[in-house]
Every structure is written in C-alpha cells, then in structure tokens.
C-alpha cells in the first residue's frame, strides 16, 4: 500500500501524459520513446516521492511534538517551534507533491532549511534537558526526559525536502555529493536513528510484547541494504532491498495499530483517551519508519535511473505494480 502513497506505482503513464510536463526544459516534447521518457522524468517523480516522505515525516513530527509538548505543558515557549516548523514543512511538502513543474522553489527550499536547523536546535535542547538532571546521561533521563532522537526527525524531513528540491531541478549533486546516493544513505542513517529511538523506548517498555522486537530488528537490515545500494555501483533494480523497505513501511503502519492497542491497555483504555494518548505509546511515532522506507524506495528509483542499463523502475514496473509486494 505504500506504493500508492509514496511512489508513483506505475502510474507514470498518466503523469507522462500530463500537459504541464512541457514546461520542463529538460524533457523533450512530442513523441518520446518509451525508453527515454521515464528516465528523463525520473527526477520529477523522485522529487515528488521524496516530498511525500518529507511530508509524512513532518506530519509525524507535528503530531508527536504536539502531544509530547502538550504533555510538557509548553513550559518553555520554544516548545511551540517544532509545531510551527513541521506544519510549514508539511505544507511545503504538499506543495512539492502537487506541483508538477520540474523547477526548484525558493520558499519551499527555505522551509526545508528551517526544518533542518530547527531539528538540530531541538536536539541540543533535548540534550540539555537530559544533562541538567541528576544522573545526567543515565537510562532514567534517556527514558523520561525529552527524547533525544525525536527532533532529528524534523532534520531528516528537512533534508529529504531539500534533496527533493535539488533532484527536481535535475541536479544530480547535493552538497557536492551524488544526490541519489546521498538520499539512500540519509534514509538509511535516519532509519538506524529511528531504530535506536524505538529500541530505547521499547526497552523502557521492557519489550513486554514480543512484537516490540520487530522495529528494532527489521529496519537496520533494510537500512543496511539501502546503504549498500547507496555506496555501490547503481543497478537497474533492487528487488530484495525494495521488499525489505516495503516490509518496513508496512511495519510502521502496523506499529500504529499496536500503539492504538497499547493505549487500550492503560488504565481506563480508550475511554480515558485524554490521558492515555499522552502517557501511552505514541501513536504518531511508528509511521516515521514508513516515511523513511518510502524515502529509501525513492532513492532506489533515483539510483536505478543512474544505472548503466536504464532506470530501475522500468525493470520493476513492467506489470504496472512494482511487483515487490505480491512476489515477496
């Protein structure tokens, strides 16, 4: 199902026919050969995929920080910042997803840059919140003080949006590095970071449900393969890595369901939702795995487009669907 939300899922034929594509100077008008057109369009598709991911991440940050900072009573005015910045990032991402022009956009770029900076500042705030308490970097403070890893989700949302901007303009380089590789490696690293966060919190929950091991075990494997794809010579298709990423994204959604169930196990269950949504397992958290997996899949597509034998998606989408899910 992630294919529908974050990947064009073979719908390129429809996009392909869209008239506004003509505005893109890099895409030749009129009769395009079946081999050429998707390759040439790949940057736009990939950019929009990346924007879907940055948007999903921003949404996850928005919901999560709203709940958590509300729980913290917004005792510091700065605690409103991630709410507004993630809202902006979400808007910029939506704008990116709906925009069909293969051009960069200054405001979007600025918003994503702001998200990157906010995420970094948030991390520093959270570090400070931990070290000022007795025990400093202790398990107690890592468990219960401001979560160390959470603000970086905003940074990753910003970075993903930032890459999208570059890729959309047809740039193959970001920060002097190859954009496709960088996108793959960034998602992989972020996925490991998210795993660490999930691991910490599930450890706090004493892994009381065996399923709690899944988000600690699976994403690092997917991230490993994704990072490997990012550092080796691009190939036309990455069926196995794709499957792993698809599974990871599904796991993220299943995680939400588990957290909904987790809330029901607290005293009063959902009848006492006002308290239990705040104190129970964070419902908006697991989809960040999905978002990062989508970003990884988008990165694979970019890599595929660079492969000597043509775009990865051609190989993978012959049947219309990616073929990843059914043939797993």
């Amino acid at each position: 199902m992630q294919e529908g939300s974050c990947q064009d899922n073979g719908s390129h034929t429809r996009d392909h026919a869209a008239p506004e594509g003509g505005a893109g100077s890099s895409v030749p008008d009129a009769p395009m050969s079946a081999e050429l057109a998707p390759a040439a369009r790949a940057p736009l598709y990939a950019a929009r995929d990346l924007n879907r991911c940055s948007g999903l991440l921003a949404l996850s940050v928005l919901l999560d920080s709203s709940v958590e900072h509300y729980r913290g009573n917004f005792h510091n005015k700065a605690m409103y910042t991630p709410l507004s910045v993630s809202t902006l990032s979400l808007a910029a991402s939506v704008h990116g997803v709906t925009g069909r022009r293969p051009l960069g956009h200054k405001t979007r770029l600025a918003v994503f840059a702001l998200a990157i900076v906010t995420g970094v500042a948030g991390t520093l705030f959270h570090v400070y919140d931990i070290i000022r308490k007795p025990g400093g970097f202790s398990w107690q403070n890592l468990f219960y003080s401001a979560p160390l890893g959470a603000p970086s989700a905003l940074t990753v949302a910003g970075l993903t949006g930032f890459f999208a901007e570059r890729v959309r303009r047809g740039q193959t380089q970001v920060f002097g590095q190859d954009a496709a590789r960088l996108a793959a490696i960034t998602s992989a690293v972020a996925m490991v970071g998210t795993t660490a966060e999930a691991g910490l919190l599930h450890f706090r929950g004493a892994f009381h449900n065996p399923f709690m091991f899944l988000p600690v075990a699976m994403p690092p494997i997917a991230a490993g393969f994704l990072a490997y794809a990012g550092i080796t010579t691009p190939r036309t298709a990455y069926p196995f890595t794709r499957r792993l990423l698809t599974a990871t994204s599904l796991m993220g959604l299943a995680g939400t369901a588990f957290h909904v169930y987790g809330v029901s196990r607290a005293m009063g269950g959902w009848r006492n939702w006002q308290q239990n949504m705040v104190d129970g397992p964070p419902i908006p958290a697991p989809p960040s795995f999905s978002a990062l997996a989508f970003a990884g899949i988008a990165a694979l597509r970019l890599l595929g487009a660079k492969a000597p034998n043509g775009p990865e998606r051609l190989g993978a989408t012959k049947t219309g669907a990616t073929g990843a899910v059914p043939r797993a």
Partner: protein, 549 residues
C-alpha cells in the same frame, strides 16, 4: 466502599472474585471438604502465605488458605480516599506497651486476602548478603541458616514473578540479573533525594518497585496517582492479591476469606490435625496433613500461644521458649523540609529513589546494622498526623503549615533494629471479637537502635540541607515493618523453625512469613519473605519426593 465485609465472604461456592474484572466477575475455585484432610492449610495469604499457596498448589499439593480479612476487588472497592481505606488494616484490639510502644495498624499490618502487600509501598529490595551471617560476618544479631547465594536465586525468581520495575544497574551488592521492568519516572521528591545524595557523595538509584512501568497481563502500567499505601485501585501494583492469589486459584488452591483461624489442633502424637476457624459467625474445623502459619509477626506467635494444649502448655513449637520473642520493627524516622519551588511529592509511588549507602558502608559507624533512606510523598491526612504528632502543631499554625503541602519534601529511613528477647508478643487476658485472647506487644529501643537512628537523622538532615530545603525538622518516633517472633535457626534450642520453615517441635507445622527472620536488615522485608516462601515450597516438594514430609 462496599459494605458488610465482616459477614459475607466472597470466595464461596466454587468461585472467587476475579480481581481483574471491572464488572465484578468471578474465577472458578476448587473447594475442599472440611473433613477431607488437605495437604496444606495455610493461615494468612500475604507475602508469605500467598506465595506459598500459589507455589504449593502449582507443585501439585492440595491447599486451603485462610485469611481473616476480606477478598477485595481493587478496581471496584478501592477509593482514592485515605480514610475510606482503613478497612485494609489490621486494627483489632491489641495492647502495646514497653518503653517504646509500637503503634499498630496501617503502618505495619494488613487484614485482607493478599495481606499487608495490598497496601504496602512496593519497595522490593534484596538483603545485603552479609546480613544472612550477621553474627559471624558482622558481629551482631544472629546468623540465618540460609546461604545468600541460594537466596539470590530465589530473589530473582520473586522479582520475575512480581515484574519488579527497577534500575538497569543496581549500584550496591553483588551482581543481580536485570529487573524485569524498567524503573519508573522519578518525581520531584525523588530527584531531590538524588541531588542530596550527589551533594554528599553517595550513590542513589531508582527504587525497585512492585508496580509495573508497562502493561503486564491484565495489569495496566502505574498511573502515578500515589495512593499505593491505601490500596492500588488500578492493579498496577503487583501484590499477593494480584499476583500470587490468582496463580494459587488457577493451580487449584481454595482461598477462604473472612475466615479467622483461632486455634491449631494437635493430636495425641503431637502432630497438627487441622485448624479451628470462624467464618460467617460460626466456628468450624478444617482437617489437614500440614499446617502453615503465615499470619505475620504478631498474629503468628499469638496463634501458636493460643493453641497451647496440655502437651504443649507453652504454646505450639515453643520448646525453645522463643515463640513471640525477638520481635523487631524497623526504624522509620524522617527528615522533612520545605522547598521554594513546588514539589508535589504525592505524585507517583512514594519512594521512587533510594540510597542504600549506609547499608553497604561499614566505616564511620558507631552502631551495628544498616539503613537506607527513600523519597517520601505522604498524603494530606498522613501529613497532618506528622505535623500534629512530630511537631505538636495545632490550630492556626497547623493550618498555615498545611498550606505548604505542595512545597514539602522529605526522606524517610528504613533502619535495622537489633533482635532483643525482651521485645516480644505475649497473650493478654483481654479478648477480641472472636473471643480469643489478644496479643500484648512489648517493645523497647536498644542503645544500638538509638545510635543508628541518630546517625540516620543527621545524615538525612544534611541531605535536605544540601538541596536548599528550609524549615527542616526531624520526625523522631516512627517505626514500620515487623519481623521476628518465630525465628529460624540451626538448632531446636535456639530457634523455632529450621531453614525450611518447619517447626522443630511439630514436624507437620510450618511457619512461613516475616516472623522467621532472625535479624531484619536495613531494607523493607516483603521481597525476602517471598523469596523464603518460594524456597520453602521447593524444599517441601523435595522432602515429599524423599518421603520426608
């Protein structure tokens, strides 16, 4: 609160209350005939009796466990109201005397299925290993006939069964396995204790607690409302009522609530035959092959003494004359103060952090034994009684002081008091509502006890001072947990029971609760009582296999 517990037992007709059912349902319960000699009758269903009932039933023995108190349904019966919860305590008539009479009631004894653990503070600590050899290793008290390594194993089993939420690394004592659940978030009072310790250069830790920090079975995670010592209305607390009793019922034990055992009957061969008990206003008799008493440090010796016969005129299991002697309580003094910022110490379980520094440090002491101190969070009425009792405040001054409730902080000790034969439980001529002679409890603090208390109070005051608390004062009089009165030991002359909790005098009479402690250590006793009960169950099984029961 539901009414009329005294007359209407709930565990009857093959079913017992399902403590986890918010609608007041029941679980099936096996029932035994009174004429059928069950393998074990257990008197008392608290830390000792509840644990033993579960384990013996799981090991295949037939078990009937009696408790004088009601079978509560925490989800339905428990109110968030200090006074409404008085029904949890053993407040029957007693005489307390001696130089330092012990105040009996909520602070030290429960009367309910689940015993005192229903309203205990959940602090679950292990003994320092040397305490099992206090006399030979540290020069005071008496040695236990138990090896600390074996106890270490049973502590682990108990901690798993209770899903203790504790720190990832416990800073004192030999290595122990990781606690099954992670420590709870500490509240402001707990943090101030930590700051105080850091200022004094002592280590501190999150207190290992028997309340879950994440869901467990039908127990929701703790909601940090702090009513723990008045019964936990969510079942987050892992008490005998929520852990061992359900296990016992599942394994086929019968629980008889509101059933007060008044006498153990002994036959001509000098063996226990069963117990006389009163339920629904009628005296009854249950036959048994073995009788275990787990009624805690006052009621256990009282029952033994009340069961005297011509053959055992001093009471049962009392050839040593030690039944009722060596009663110990623990010193529970406190230092209190006021912080400029709000603390709101009532949030969460009362003792979220601890320092066991003076349990493990022997240098610089002018006394034997050890103590720890923990964060505190008394509820308002409790706090009033400290203000009126320890400070003698009244009227307008009391009112103004109470306005500071949210700013108050405090630390309270659990200190080791030494065994003394003169501290004891005897029978009084007065009788209770069942017509049974009531216990007389005689207590005096020894010089060592007083030195330990003074040391602890000075230390606790320093720790409060170092975090900037003002208006400091000492609460000098409090005591809490009980132990002793039927000590275990190496010989029939110097103890009441052996290492297996089997009485020396009557081979089918056992005592398994806090009364078997030869010394009481500087930590709360319930985990040790449960570890002993776990061991006793295994020993009984082993003896049965060898035909030595």
């Amino acid at each position: 609160m539901p009414v009329d517990f005294d007359s209407r037992p709930r565990a009857v007709a093959g079913r017992a209350p399902d403590v986890f059912d918010p609608k007041g349902g029941f679980v099936p319960m096996r029932s035994y005939d009174e004429d059928e000699a069950v393998d074990f009758v257990i008197v008392g269903t608290g830390a000792g009796g509840g644990t033993l009932a579960a384990r013996l039933a799981e090991l295949g023995f037939s078990v009937v466990a009696f408790d004088a108190g009601p079978f509560f349904r925490p989800l339905l019966d428990f109110a968030s109201d200090e006074t409404a919860q008085n029904s949890l305590y053993w407040t029957d008539k007693r005489v307390c005397d001696g130089e330092n009479p012990i105040k009996m009631g909520g602070n030290n004894s429960g009367k309910a299925v689940g015993g005192s653990t229903v309203h205990f503070a959940m602090v679950s600590l292990r003994f320092r290993p040397e305490w099992f050899k206090s006399r030979s290793a540290l020069g005071y008290g008496a040695d236990w006939p138990l090896d600390w390594r074996e106890m270490w194993h049973y502590y682990t089993v108990a901690e798993r069964a209770l899903a203790i939420a504790g720190p990832v690394h416990y800073p004192w004592g030999p290595k122990r396995p990781r606690y099954p659940y992670r420590a709870h978030e500490i509240n402001a009072a707990g943090r101030l204790l930590a700051q105080g310790c850091e200022a004094l250069g002592y280590r501190w830790a999150e207190t290992p607690l028997a309340t879950v920090s994440a869901p467990r079975g039908k127990s929701p995670p703790c909601v940090y409302r702090g009513f723990c010592r008045f019964g936990c209305s969510t079942n987050a607390k892992q008490s005998a009522l929520t852990v061992w009793i359900p296990r016992a019922l599942k394994a086929g034990a019968e629980i008889r609530d509101l059933a007060m055992v008044g006498r153990i009957e002994v036959d001509d061969q000098g063996l226990a035959r069963g117990v006389h008990y009163v339920r629904e206003g009628k005296w009854r008799f249950q036959r048994a092959r073995h009788v275990v008493i787990s009624a805690y440090a006052i009621e256990t010796p009282r029952l033994l003494l009340n069961s005297a016969t011509d053959r055992f005129p001093q009471g049962l299991a009392n050839s040593s004359g030690l039944v009722g002697r060596n009663l110990m309580t623990q010193s529970n003094q406190a230092a209190w103060g006021r912080m400029e910022d709000q603390v709101r110490w009532y949030k969460g379980p009362p003792s979220l952090t601890i320092t066991e520094h003076w349990n493990y440090e022997d240098r610089g002491k002018d006394f034997f034994g050890g103590y720890c101190w923990m964060g505190q969070g008394p509820m308002p009425i409790e706090w009033v009684s400290v203000q009126t009792g320890a400070r003698g405040l009244w009227g307008e001054r009391l009112r103004t002081e109470m306005m500071d409730y949210n700013h108050q902080i405090g630390v309270k000790m659990v200190g080791e008091m030494l065994p003394d034969e003169a501290n004891r439980v005897t029978l009084d001529s007065d009788t209770d509502q069942y017509g049974l002679p009531i216990p007389r409890i005689t207590y005096r603090w020894g010089d060592n006890d007083k030195r330990l208390i003074k040391h602890a109070l000075d230390q606790m005051m320093m720790s409060l001072d170092s975090v900037g608390a003002t208006k400091l004062f000492r609460q000098e009089d409090d005591t809490n947990h009980l132990a002793g009165t039927a000590r275990m030991g190496f010989t029939p002359e110097t103890s009441v029971v052996d290492a297996d909790c089997r009485s020396w005098d009557i081979p089918n009479l056992w005592i398994c609760d806090g009364s078997v402690f030869p010394t009481t250590g500087g930590v709360n006793p319930a985990l040790t009582i449960q570890a002993i009960a776990l061991r006793t169950a295994d020993r009984i099984k082993a003896l049965a296999i060898r035909g030595e029961l």
